[in-house]
């Protein structure tokens, strides 16, 4: 706990689980959760670097983490709004079935 590596391993695991969710889930909200996991992994990394790598009085890492949380909030709001809109339009939230991008 007084070492960088455990934090990095935790954040990497979170990150990969997030990626896995994003890649495999069929439900938009599940994907959103995966994204949240990824963002959290990043924030954790920043905080960990701020603690162990930068000098003790430099807390830029934490601030960037805060920004990350802020952006996550904004993103989640917009994402859910979009999901609602899509749901209204197509009555489904599986990204597989909203394939209007299909050429």
């Amino acid at each position: 706990m007084n070492d960088l590596t455990p934090y990095l391993v935790i954040s990497t695991t979170l990150f990969c689980l997030g990626i896995f969710a994003v890649l495999t889930r069929r439900n938009a909200i599940s994907i959103l959760m995966g994204i949240e996991l990824i963002l959290n992994a990043c924030n954790l990394n920043f905080a960990a670097f701020s603690r162990f790598v930068t000098p003790p009085d430099d807390i830029s890492g934490q601030i960037i983490s805060i920004f990350g949380i802020v952006l996550a909030a904004a993103e989640a709001a917009v994402f859910l709004a979009i999901i609602l809109a899509i749901y209204r339009e197509f009555s489904t939230i599986s990204p597989d079935e909203t394939d209007t991008l299909k050429g």
Partner: protein
């Protein structure tokens, strides 16, 4: 004036005449006075040739070249060479050409393509003159092919007739076969000497004399290959079949191209190549010439078409000239070329006059004169596939109606039959017989007497069929009274050339066509291996050369010895030669009397029925009548084979090669769709046309990437990223 200037004028005049026509017609206009332009150009050329002949000194050949292609390692130059042969040829060509031009003004009158005819004649004259003056094989080849083109264009002048269209194609293709042989010979010489120039220090002739003994076979092959061109152009066996068909062209063309000049170009080529001819290649030439002379003469006996008879006669006479060249008699060959040019042109023009008269009568008779050139389209009587106006079976008794034509043609016939002393043909034919006999005697080889026998036999037959022609056409009772009644003598513009040519067939009235003069004028060039000029003293090497040539060493020594004799005392004092001469002169009388007498028995006095004889010797008659089945053989074997193989190749290309390509395309497409089919196997193309399938599959392949699934993009992006990282990590 210098030789160069005269040469330029001679060449450029006909060319200019042709250019005027072609430029005007390109602009869509007609050339109204093309006949006069062309004739005038030809007359100017004739005057210049005469001037050259009179002023230039043949002892001192004039030779000018300029670089044609700027290559370093090899030599490509163009130029002209003026010696006695050139002078004679120029004169012959321009005289005959001028006269044919004049004759054509009358003969072709009223033809819808009248100007074009003269333009083509001019182009031909240019090409022929270019061929004659060229100093190198490439230039000769260029002229060679160009005269072939003109021959093609003029044979096919009345191309609406299927027979004419067929004949011109046949002529071009057959001569092309020979030309390819000639080209291969040129390639051989070029590979050896890096030049195609004949004269000069770097020329082939100079280089040939330095060749070693081992090259003799090679040189023989090259010589025979070059001679192939002459075989094609001069209609020698086995490429002679085009010339009789070429008679589909207008008669003046037959006179100019297919009797006097172009076909004689083969003889000219053989003569020009004289210094290259080894004993072996000479022998080949001699035998081909001899065989041709005999075969063509025998075919001529049974023809009824007046022009066909003359065509076979031409082939036969050309064979004679080749025989002379092959037997080593350069002078006799060229001399016969000259005399033959005049009397054969005369014969053709005379027959043209007859045909013209018949046509006029035919038109007057049937009141059908708006279509001047649709000859033979309406046959009022049985034609046997022959144009009735040319069928001798419809003629007879014409001497009363067309006295001028009759007399001039009779002179030509006497000349070609070799009636002694008075006529030019006798001198040249006699010279050839003497030379052939002399060669046979000095070869010490009995089987070469065959050559002399064929020559003598051909001479008898020639006299026979030529008088058959005269008897059938001009004597006896008219066989077709209706036509006969309308026949009248041709206009002056046609008869004057006949008279001039007739005069030229008498050696008495001029000096040009005189044997003694000719022999003095034209000197035999040295033949390195036959005449052994350079290494005569080195009998050792000569022995080797001749042993390789398959000839006896004894003969070699004798020949070398003889050459010394020739140089010392001249040809006539050679004992063997004298002996040959003494045999031939009486023989000539026998030949003429035999030939004319037989002919008269058959066709004048009608003591023997030709039909009866024909019936008795039916197989031989059939052989002659069917021209030894050459055409049948070529059509049945070579043409059919080529066409069949081309079909085969065409199908092969379409089915096999293209099939393989399409098959590969199909397989690749199948494999590819299988490969990605398990990712998304919903893709089913229901298109029948697999052509469109390709389009669709290409599109489909691209489209499948575009599934609209963000996750797939992401997956691919990430996968690609990982791969990239892995790749770069391993670097």
């Amino acid at each position: 004036m210098s030789v160069v200037v005269l040469f330029s004028i001679i060449l450029l005049c006909p060319l200019a005449a042709f250019s005027v026509f072609s430029l005007l017609s390109l602009a869509g206009r007609n050339s109204p006075r093309q006949d006069l332009i062309s004739t005038a150009a030809m007359l100017i050329a004739f005057v210049c040739s005469l001037l050259l002949f009179v002023t230039a000194n043949p002892e001192n050949p004039d030779h000018q070249t300029l670089t044609w292609l700027p290559l370093e390692s090899v030599d490509f130059s163009m130029g002209f060479y003026f010696d006695s042969v050139t002078a004679v040829m120029l004169l012959v060509v321009t005289i005959v050409s001028s006269l044919v031009h004049i004759f054509s003004i009358g003969y072709m009158h009223g033809d819808p393509r009248y100007p074009r005819f003269f333009a083509f004649l001019s182009l031909f004259s240019f090409s022929m003159l270019f061929l004659v003056v060229s100093d190198n094989l490439l230039g000769i080849y260029i002229g060679w092919e160009l005269v072939g083109l003109c021959s093609y264009l003029l044979i096919g002048f009345w191309f609406e007739k299927k027979s004419a269209a067929d004949a011109c194609k046949k002529a071009f293709l057959t001569t092309r076969v020979g030309d390819v042989g000639m080209f291969i010979g040129m390639m051989m010489l070029f590979a050896k000497f890096q030049t195609l120039a004949l004269y000069g220090e770097d020329g082939i002739f100079a280089a040939v004399s330095d060749l070693g003994a081992g090259d003799l076979t090679w040189l023989s092959i090259a010589g025979v290959l070059i001679f192939c061109g002459a075989v094609g152009k001069s209609a020698q066996v086995p490429l002679h079949t085009w010339l009789p068909d070429a008679m589909e062209g207008p008669t003046p063309v037959s006179a100019l191209i297919h009797a006097a000049t172009m076909v004689a170009a083969g003889v000219y080529l053989a003569a020009r190549m004289f210094p290259l001819l080894t004993p072996d290649s000479s022998l080949v030439i001699a035998y081909i010439g001899g065989i041709t002379a005999l075969i063509a003469a025998t075919i001529a006996i049974v023809r009824f078409d007046i022009k066909r008879v003359l065509a076979y006669s031409t082939i036969s006479q050309l064979g004679y000239m080749m025989l002379a060249i092959g037997a080593g008699s350069y002078v006799a060959g060229l001399f016969h070329l000259t005399t033959h040019a005049f009397f054969k042109a005369l014969l053709f023009l005379g027959s043209g006059s007859v045909i013209h008269a018949f046509h006029a009568s035919h038109q007057a008779h049937s009141h059908h004169d708006e279509n001047g050139h649709s000859r033979g389209s309406e046959a009022p009587f049985a034609s046997f596939g022959i144009d009735p106006a040319q069928d001798m079976r419809h003629m007879g008794g014409l001497r009363r109606k067309m006295p001028l034509t009759f007399v001039t043609m009779l002179i030509a016939t006497l000349s070609i039959s070799g009636v002694p002393f008075l006529f030019s043909g006798f001198w040249s034919k006699d010279a050839i017989l003497v030379e052939v006999l002399y060669r046979a005697m000095s070869w010490h080889s009995v089987h070469h007497y065959i050559l002399f026998c064929t020559a003598a036999l051909a001479a008898v037959i020639t006299a026979f069929y030529m008088f058959r022609l005269i008897f059938m056409t001009f004597f006896g009772e008219p066989r077709n009274r209706e036509m006969y009644d309308h026949v009248h003598e041709s206009p002056k513009v046609m008869t004057v050339p006949l008279i001039i040519l007739a005069v030229l067939s008498f050696p008495i009235f001029n000096t040009i066509v005189n044997k003694g003069f000719f022999e003095n004028y034209v000197k035999t060039p040295e033949q390195p291996h036959v005449g052994s000029p350079k290494h005569a003293h080195d009998s050792q090497s000569q022995g080797v050369l001749y042993a390789q040539a398959g000839l006896s060493v004894a003969y070699a020594a004798e020949d070398a010895h003889q050459h010394h004799d020739d140089h010392a005392a001249g040809e006539h004092h050679n004992p063997i030669h004298d002996k040959a001469h003494n045999i031939v002169i009486p023989l000539s009388f026998v030949i003429v009397i035999l030939g004319i007498g037989l002919s008269a028995l058959f066709y004048y006095w009608k003591k023997i029925s030709a039909e009866a004889v024909a019936a008795k010797f039916r197989p031989i008659y059939n052989l002659f009548w069917n021209k030894y089945y050459f055409d049948e053989f070529y059509n049945g074997a070579i043409v059919a084979f080529t066409v069949a193989s081309s079909r085969l190749f065409g199908l092969f290309d379409l089915r096999v090669i293209d099939g393989i390509v399409n098959g590969i395309g199909f397989t690749v497409r199948e494999l590819f769709s299988r490969l990605i089919g398990w990712v998304d196997n919903t893709f089913v193309d229901g298109l029948v046309n697999w052509v469109a399938q390709i389009t669709l599959s290409v599109g489909g392949r691209i489209r499948r990437v575009q599934t609209g699934m963000i996750q797939n993009y992401l997956l691919i992006i990430l996968g690609g990223l990982v791969l990239l990282i892995l790749i770069f990590r391993s670097l």
